[in-house]
């Protein structure tokens, strides 16, 4: 909040912190030559300077990470051997290796500093950074340093390691698919060499008797392509046939087997040279397409679940003392202690007198809930204020919040990565090809049995849907990258295909339609005179409480006077005096002395011992959301809210008329609501944020999570979009929908090539040379077309985004 004030009062002179580069005109700390925004930054600067690490500031601009607004966490649990053992990758003798996820890694300076971290702690032997995954791998000597001191050092220099429950509860998966790279290598190797060996024959050199040895070498080179590189296609085709589907892998497998079978037959019987180069090339192109399609955003996690938000350990009361224990060992009726700012890992009842819980993690609402002794506390809340003790009622994996994840939807494996559209097309494709093959065979069978055999295999060879199979990877794969550059992160290409069919858009209210970061104050009661406004403004400007800030904005036209007396009772209210005037502002219990249950969101104003009125608060509507929604009015729009109906009137003004509203929805209601829509035959896109939408996001056909700065919730979603680019939402959707026509174009091109090939095949004229030219040409055409068209279509989106930037209405 202080930060906001500083920004507001920022003038022409800007002072920049030497460490983090943030403006620090007001709070600057000056020494000899340097200016810092806070002591944290100053400390880091001198720590680095004393250790000859000043290069940090030279490598990249904006290298420093501000220490402001970042609370240092307590890492005492890292003394516990059991927890250490779970965190370390390996540990033998005094050598240990650990990997940290450091979300603050953002520039080349970070890499440099983190890889030189051994200068700050001699116990560290080696450290290596993976920039895209935002990870640091650190090897250290357990006798000279400890895991805890490394973590504290990282925290000290501004890189807060992400240590959460999922780190020990789930195996760490490597993101890079090494086996795919190896398969591509093998296929490429075989393709190149077979091509080289077959080349003389294409040029028509005379065939010596020994040239058949070349065929054997080719066959030998092609074996690993069939049994290693391309084997997964055969497997998947077999699986498809077993369940009675004609997915794209079926014609692919038919093509592969015919190519290989006929070539082997020709070579072994010494009647021809076979089509092995086409075969290897076919597999190579398919794998390249797969690799291109599988591109993942390494720093974005789409599969986070509650485990990523929970701490690793918690303090538990054991035999008269508090011990750090891993949270999966917590059982019902244990007593745990939660400090300021820590997430409560399990449901329980409060033992301490009072607690203030921030459930924004769960509900997306910034309202702070007051809990008194023996009342229920739910997992996922964050304690604000002094340490509290809780008696656990349910262990972590059975808590109200985590039960969401035990719903069936989270257990369903995402249907195979292969594409929906392609599988539909390929069913028709396969049937057509088989019919053509049968007719060709029957026709030639009565004329010449040899030609019949040759032509049926030729038909199956040219029918290889190589170009077809590459269309989706290249068009949609490239679109995923283009969208990622424009801050619309899609999990995979299947998600894009699902977006094509969306006809129902479901919005969550809090955090989606409304902006949960901002707060707006509404005043109800007797009108205030300008003098009273002055008093009010002067009072609230002393306080940093979010509600005070909101009232501050409400009264901002008044001028400030100096109060004679000011007092803030934390969490309750404010008292001020000016001359004979008394002003009091605060919760109902603070003003009226009642201690009933109340909503903290109501603030009473009392001037000279008379209640003047009250303030209520709501989150303002997200900017431009009305424009976004009105463009969607051709579709079904639904709004789900965990709140009551009090805001319906306000929402109706902005949302299109055909919107349907559902209020008082708890997380599992939301999920069921989506299910009901889907049962009615709708394809649902859910747009939401916060953990309470997780179930609905997962259940929907496409779940979009809005991630505002600073909160990186991405539970069970398919797309992550940043709040700042949400006003371009329609642009993104239109771009994705336009890709449908790009795909149709690709199908037409692919079929053209297949038709040309069929012309050769049915007449029995398909020579290995024709196949070797036709197949790579068609694949490359599709690749170029795919990359080009997806780029071309994005121009419109690009200019739209630029327009929105230039014209902030």
């Amino acid at each position: 909040m202080v930060e906001n004030q500083i920004k507001a009062s920022k003038n022409a002179i800007g002072l920049e912190c030497t460490h983090c580069g943030e403006d620090c005109t007001e709070s600057a700390i000056l020494d000899e030559k340097n200016i810092f925004c806070c002591h944290g930054c100053q400390q880091i600067f001198y720590l680095l300077k004393d250790n000859n690490l000043e290069n940090y500031y030279k490598i990249a601009s904006q290298s420093g990470i501000t220490k402001k607004n970042k609370e240092d966490k307590n890492y005492d649990y890292l003394d516990d051997e059991e927890i250490i053992a779970k965190l370390l990758d390996f540990h033998t003798g005094n050598k240990a290796r650990v990997q940290f996820t450091l979300p603050d890694i953002h520039c080349s300076s970070c890499i440099w500093l983190l890889e030189n971290i051994h200068k700050l702690d001699p116990g560290i032997q080696h450290s290596k950074v993976n920039f895209l995954e935002k990870k640091a791998y650190i090897n250290f000597d357990t006798e000279k340093t400890s895991l805890k001191s490394i973590v504290l050092l990282l925290q000290k220099i501004g890189y807060h390691p992400e240590l959460n429950f999922s780190k020990i509860a789930e195996p760490q998966k490597s993101i890079v698919n090494r086996s795919l790279i190896l398969k591509i290598g093998v296929a490429g190797f075989a393709f190149g060499n077979i091509m080289l060996i077959s080349f003389p024959e294409y040029l028509g050199f005379e065939k010596a008797a020994s040239s058949f040895y070349l065929g054997y070498i080719n066959l030998f080179l092609a074996l690993p392509v069939l049994f290693y590189s391309g084997f997964s296609y055969l497997e998947s085709a077999w699986y498809n046939i077993k369940v009675g589907k004609l997915g794209i892998h079926v014609p692919v497998a038919i093509g592969m087997l015919t190519l290989f079978g006929r070539s082997a037959y020709e070579i072994l019987n010494q009647i021809g040279e076979g089509y092995l180069d086409s075969f290897a090339g076919f597999v190579l192109f398919l794998l390249i397409g797969k690799w291109f399609q599988d591109y993942t955003f390494q720093s974005i996690a789409f599969d986070r679940n509650y485990k990523s938000y929970f701490p690793i350990s918690v303090q538990k009361y054991v035999l008269g003392e508090w011990q750090n224990v891993s949270i999966n060992t917590i059982k019902a009726s244990d007593q745990i202690r939660v400090r300021n700012g820590e997430i409560i890992p399990c449901d329980g009842t409060l033992i301490s007198d009072k607690a203030k819980i921030d459930y924004s993690f769960v509900t997306g609402e910034s309202e702070i809930i007051l809990v008194s002794q023996l009342e229920q506390i739910f997992a996922g809340g964050k304690q604000i204020g002094p340490t509290i003790d809780i008696k656990v009622t349910k262990p972590v994996d059975q808590s109200y919040l985590t039960q969401l994840w035990n719903e069936k939807v989270f257990k369903l494996e995402d249907e195979s990565k292969s594409t929906i559209i392609l599988n539909k097309v390929s069913a028709y494709f396969t049937i057509t090809i088989l019919i053509i093959a049968a007719i060709t065979f029957l026709y030639w069978f009565f004329i010449d049995k040899g030609i019949a055999f040759r032509s049926i295999t030729a038909v199956l060879i040219v029918a290889c849907p190589c170009a077809l199979a590459l269309s989706v990877p290249f068009i949609l794969g490239n679109a995923t990258r283009i969208l990622a550059k424009l801050k619309f992160y899609v999990r995979n290409t299947t998600t894009l295909e699902k977006i094509l069919d969306i006809d129902t858009y479901v919005f969550d209210k809090t955090g989606t339609i409304t902006d949960s970061k901002l707060m707006q104050a509404n005043y109800d009661g007797q009108p205030l005179s300008s003098k009273e406004m002055q008093l009010l403004y002067s009072l609230v400007s002393h306080s940093n409480h979010p509600l005070s800030q909101a009232i501050c904005k409400f009264a901002q036209n008044a001028s400030i006077i100096n109060l004679d007396y000011f007092e803030e009772s934390i969490g309750l209210g404010l008292i001020g005096k000016k001359g004979a005037d008394n002003i009091k502002l605060g919760s109902i219990s603070f003003i009226l002395g009642k201690t009933e249950n109340f909503s903290e969101q109501t603030v009473l104003l009392e001037i000279n011992h008379k209640v003047k009125g009250h303030f209520s608060f709501h989150n303002p509507i997200r900017q431009n959301i009305d424009k976004v929604l009105n463009k969607l009015s051709n579709f079904n729009i639904e709004l789900l809210s965990g709140d009551n109906e009090k805001e319906k009137a306000r929402l109706q003004k902005i949302l299109p008329n055909n919107t349907r509203y559902s209020f008082n929805q708890n997380p599992s209601d939301k999920l069921k609501h989506i299910q009901k829509l889907q049962d009615g035959g709708y394809n649902v896109m859910m747009i939401g944020d916060g953990l309470n939408d997780a179930g609905a996001l997962q259940q929907s056909n496409v779940g979009i999570a809005i991630a505002d700065e600073g909160n990186n919730f991405s539970p069970g979603c398919d797309v992550i979009i940043s709040g700042s680019t949400f006003s371009n939402f329609i642009g993104y959707i239109n771009y994705i929908k336009s890709l449908r026509y790009a795909l149709y174009g690709a199908f037409v091109i692919a079929f053209m090539y297949n038709l040309i090939g069929l012309g050769f095949a049915v007449t029995g004229n398909l020579s290995p040379l024709v196949a070797a030219i036709l197949m790579p040409t068609s694949s490359i055409t599709i690749m170029i077309y795919g990359l080009g068209i997806s780029k071309f279509l994005s121009f419109k989106l690009n200019s739209e985004i630029n327009n929105n930037k230039n014209d902030p209405y």
Partner: protein, 53 residues
């Protein structure tokens, strides 16, 4: 023709050698991160301190 066969065999052995090298490179993790090394190589070497690697 025989000489061509010999040449082919030699070239294949060489190519297989490269394939093995490629396997080793992938398995040792060189393809896991294709971005950081491109930055790392631009850092100035320091003369004052000795580093492990």
């Amino acid at each position: 023709m025989k000489i061509i066969l010999l040449l082919l065999v030699v070239s294949l052995i060489l190519a297989i050698g490269f394939l093995i090298a490629f396997f080793w490179a992938v398995k040792s993790g060189q393809y896991d991160d294709d971005y950081t090394p491109s930055i790392r190589m631009l850092f100035e070497d320091e003369t004052t301190t000795k580093s492990n690697k």
